[in-house]
């Protein structure tokens, strides 16, 4: 499975030059390809769908924030508001019959992107039996194996080698699938991420590593934690091509996905994509909010909001403001229903305490 080490056949003076001249060493090729055209040529119908999906995430998360305030959701609750274009842009390009997705604890948006019933997601947040993990996982631990969505992981960076393992399984089974593994700018400094990069490149695994760079890891700005803040470059030493993408623009994210997934599906191994984005809300629910200015947040909301951006495009294309407002109304109704359902569903049966610890009986 591993590529034959080229070094064995190298003469001493072929040395370093060989690496530079190596025609396979096309680290910039994907970015160059992407630069040629950064905007996905979406039909109006597709754009409308992106708008709807992003808005669903936004309204769902707003509601989750409210339920948290009311004490119906406990523990950690990491909202995805502001980052919607990343999950929608990327996941809309997947082949859901084959591909798999894995992420960290900020996972509600990725679940919604699959069109999974908001009721079961919200009920997981409120810890009810009807939740997708029977209320046993909570906000950070959501899974839908039916959709090949593998969670939902609370240890920063852990999902990266897990994702490489899912990709290993795709390759092993020759099922043609690829894995999309998301992680944060903070997670990007974990050692295991590079262990995974190395193995993924070494074994040519079908995986797209995506850094969701929302500029902060809790209260730490990337420049305070990272010597190299342009994360797409960090695959260089593993010969993984990088791409830098505006994560606040759903059409750009989608176009980047087209380029990256094609590369991966053609058997060229992993891609490292950096999506620059921003989270509007606190890291989790209580957040000191002292590490950035209100003006900074306001600027992002006013000038870079991914939903406003696609809305503007839709209006330019002739959609009426009222029609879009009706969509919003419909979504709000749907989210309210989910909230009511999640509030009124029963908690798990006491007997569930001892179920699912193991699969088999011994």
């Amino acid at each position: 499975m591993a590529k034959k080490p080229a070094a064995k056949t190298k003469t001493p003076d072929a040395g370093n030059l060989a690496a530079i001249d190596d025609p396979d060493f096309a680290l910039k090729s994907l970015q160059e390809e992407f630069e040629k055209n950064k905007t996905f040529d979406a039909s109006e119908e597709q754009m409308l769908h992106f708008y709807e999906q992003m808005l669903l995430i936004r309204r769902f998360e707003e509601r989750a924030g409210q339920l948290y305030g009311l004490g119906l959701i406990g523990g950690f609750c990491h909202l995805y508001i502001g980052q919607e274009a990343v999950a929608i842009g990327l996941q809309s390009a997947l082949d859901n019959d084959r591909d798999s997705v894995i992420t960290g604890y900020r996972d509600h948006g990725h679940m919604l992107a699959y069109g999974i019933d908001p009721n079961v997601i919200m009920s997981e947040l409120t810890g009810r039996q009807a939740g997708i993990s029977k209320g046993k996982g909570g906000s950070m631990h959501m899974f839908s194996t039916e959709h090949k969505f593998y969670g939902g992981h609370g240890i920063v960076g852990a999902q990266v080698p897990l994702g490489a393992g899912l990709a290993f399984a795709h390759k092993y089974n020759e099922d043609g699938g690829l894995t999309l593994a998301y992680f944060g700018d903070g997670a990007a400094n974990q050692g295991q991420v590079y262990e995974a990069f190395n193995m993924a490149a070494l074994w040519n695994l079908p995986i797209c590593f995506v850094v969701e760079d929302n500029q902060y890891a809790m209260g730490t700005a990337t420049k305070r934690s990272s010597a190299e803040t342009r994360f797409y470059r960090r695959g260089t030493s593993f010969r993984i091509p990088g791409m830098e993408v505006d994560g606040m623009n759903v059409l750009e994210v989608r176009q980047a996905a087209e380029v990256a997934f094609k590369h991966i599906r053609e058997g060229n191994g992993p891609v490292l994509m950096e999506c620059n984005t921003y989270r509007y809300r606190g890291h989790s629910m209580s957040d000191p909010a002292k590490y950035r200015t209100r003006e900074e947040v306001q600027d992002q909301k006013e000038h870079h909001d991914p939903i406003e951006r696609i809305k503007k495009t839709l209006i330019e294309k002739g959609k009426s403001e009222d029609a879009l407002k009706d969509i919003d109304k419909g979504i709000r109704t749907r989210v309210s229903e989910a909230a009511d359902f999640a509030e009124n569903s029963p908690e798990p049966e006491a007997a569930e305490l001892y179920t699912d610890v193991l699969v088999e009986e011994y």
Binding site: G71, G74, Y150, I155, P161, G165, S284, Y362
Partner: protein, 470 residues
């Protein structure tokens, strides 16, 4: 109908806060997402966003007011088409006060949150289990002397032939044939796709293996020794052991983490540790630590077939020992079942892994002194076969636990607890632990010998619980 705007909580532990600022005035039109007000506590600030549209009809709490209770109505909003003048303030505040709770900084978790008020009608009880017995070995079955090393390899090879999804990965498992030659010959038979040499990146490949199990494969992840699995323990426990539970039974993780465990010979403190008690404390894991070759084979095959994550603890010093293994097409043993390796009536010696050999030696010597010892090999450390332990205690009324590992919070401690809780009436003497010395394992030959469990200390303890003077 007018909508009440209530003081929000920044966390479930927040009781009250300051209404720092109104960003909208009475009569202002409000759109969804507009920031209406700013709320503060001593730790955090929050912008209060509108989730409905309408007109701000009445402000009931002035800006700058401190100590506003969570849930108190702070303003009224008129819905579309409603006359602002018609909106009335509610008569009583909806907020209830409760005891002070500590709010802690950090990620915002709800330390101190009241438990749910929902009635729990039934109390949950951990289901009891009774493990299956070993399959009967048909009369006339040929017994073949096999080393533990070969038995383990044979088990893996048989399962790899049987199930395409099974693959082995680890450092030096393929071309080098295994650091301790346990994977010898596997590369030749199964090829590089299924016998994978990894970089030295335990955390990474334990995670990758776990992900592959989640993705439907059946990985066998070899740690060169379990000392290096400390690099990877996060994935074993947080990723592999807990996933099934956290996903409500959706997402399985059928993986085997295997390799030598416990003290080897003269390798010093960092390479000599028994991780049995560590992993055995984790719900969601299966922990197996066999002693002889037949058990190693039968349990390894069971481990690979299990739908659950298994930690399979081998022992370097035992790899080369040979034992009879039944020559059968498919010798699979039940997980979770201890084995009585020597029957006796005076005292029970409970043990596992390498210490079983010492326990058997001790039993031989004790027999010479007129003491008839029963020896139990636990084989599986989690789930632990309490039944077999307690049945033996009923018979002998005296018990010693022999374990190559530290005494504190050990498997021996667990056996003592089981006997106290469920076997108290059958005890004629305190259950006694025989373990290694409670120190990092020294390198010097003499000190190492002093630190490790030996036959003499087992004999001494057995006599002590029998109240026989030396």
């Amino acid at each position: 109908m007018a909508t009440e705007l209530k003081m929000p909580a920044l966390s479930p532990t927040m009781e009250e806060g300051t209404l720092a600022k109104w960003l909208k005035s009475e009569g202002d039109k409000i759109e969804i997402g507009d920031i209406i007000a700013e709320i503060e506590t001593d730790k955090a600030t929050m912008e209060f966003e509108a989730v409905d549209e309408g007109t701000l009809a009445k402000i009931l709490v002035d800006e700058g007011t401190e100590g506003v209770a969570v849930g108190a109505v702070i303003a009224m909003m008129a819905d579309e088409g409603e006359d602002v003048g018609d909106v009335e303030a509610p008569s009583a505040s909806a907020a209830e006060s409760s005891d002070e709770k500590d709010d802690v900084e950090g990620e915002g978790k709800d330390v101190g949150q009241e438990p749910s008020e929902a009635e729990v009608t039934e109390t949950a009880e951990k289901p009891t289990r009774s493990p299956a017995s070993d399959p009967a070995i048909p009369e006339g079955t040929n017994m073949v002397s096999t080393s533990v090393r070969e038995a383990l390899r044979d088990a893996m090879a048989e399962e790899m032939r049987r199930d395409e999804r099974v693959f082995v990965m680890g450092e030096e498992v393929a071309e080098y044939q295994g650091a301790y030659k346990v994977t010898q010959g596997l590369l030749d038979e199964f090829g590089a796709k299924r016998v994978v040499d990894t970089p030295i990146t335990e955390y990474g490949f334990a995670g990758l293996g776990t992900g592959a199990a989640m993705g439907g494969l059946r990985p066998i992840v070899e740690f060169m020794t379990f000392n290096f699995a400390m690099q990877a323990i996060d994935h074993i426990i947080n990723s592999a052991a807990k996933t099934n539970y956290m996903s409500g039974g959706q997402m399985r993780c059928p993986i085997v983490f295997r390799g030598p465990n416990g003290a080897a010979a003269r390798v010093g403190a960092q390479h000599s540790q028994n991780y049995g008690p560590w992993y055995a404390s984790v719900p969601g894991l299966i922990v197996i630590a066999p002693y002889d070759a037949a058990d190693a084979k039968g349990l390894m095959k069971a481990a690979i077939r299990s739908e659950d994550p298994v930690v399979f603890l081998e022992n370097e010093l035992v790899y080369g020992r040979s034992f009879d293994v039944p020559e059968l097409d498919d010798y699979v043993l039940p997980i979770g079942k201890a084995r009585i390796v020597r029957e006796g009536s005076d005292v029970t010696i409970v043990s596992y892994s390498i210490a079983v050999g010492l326990a058997l030696e001790a039993a031989e010597e004790l027999a010479g002194q007129g003491i008839d010892a029963e020896v139990i090999d636990l084989r599986t450390l989690r789930p632990l076969d309490k039944e077999t332990v307690l049945e033996s205690l009923k018979k002998t009324n005296r018990m010693v636990v022999a374990e190559e590992g530290w005494p504190t919070c050990s498997i021996a401690s667990e056996i003592v607890a089981i006997c106290m809780e469920d076997g108290f009436d059958h005890l004629d003497a305190p259950v006694t632990r025989v373990n290694n010395a409670d120190v990092p394992l020294p390198y010097a030959a003499n000190l190492e010998a002093m630190a490790l469990i030996d036959t003499a200390s087992i004999i001494k303890a057995a006599k002590k619980v029998c109240y026989i003077e030396e």
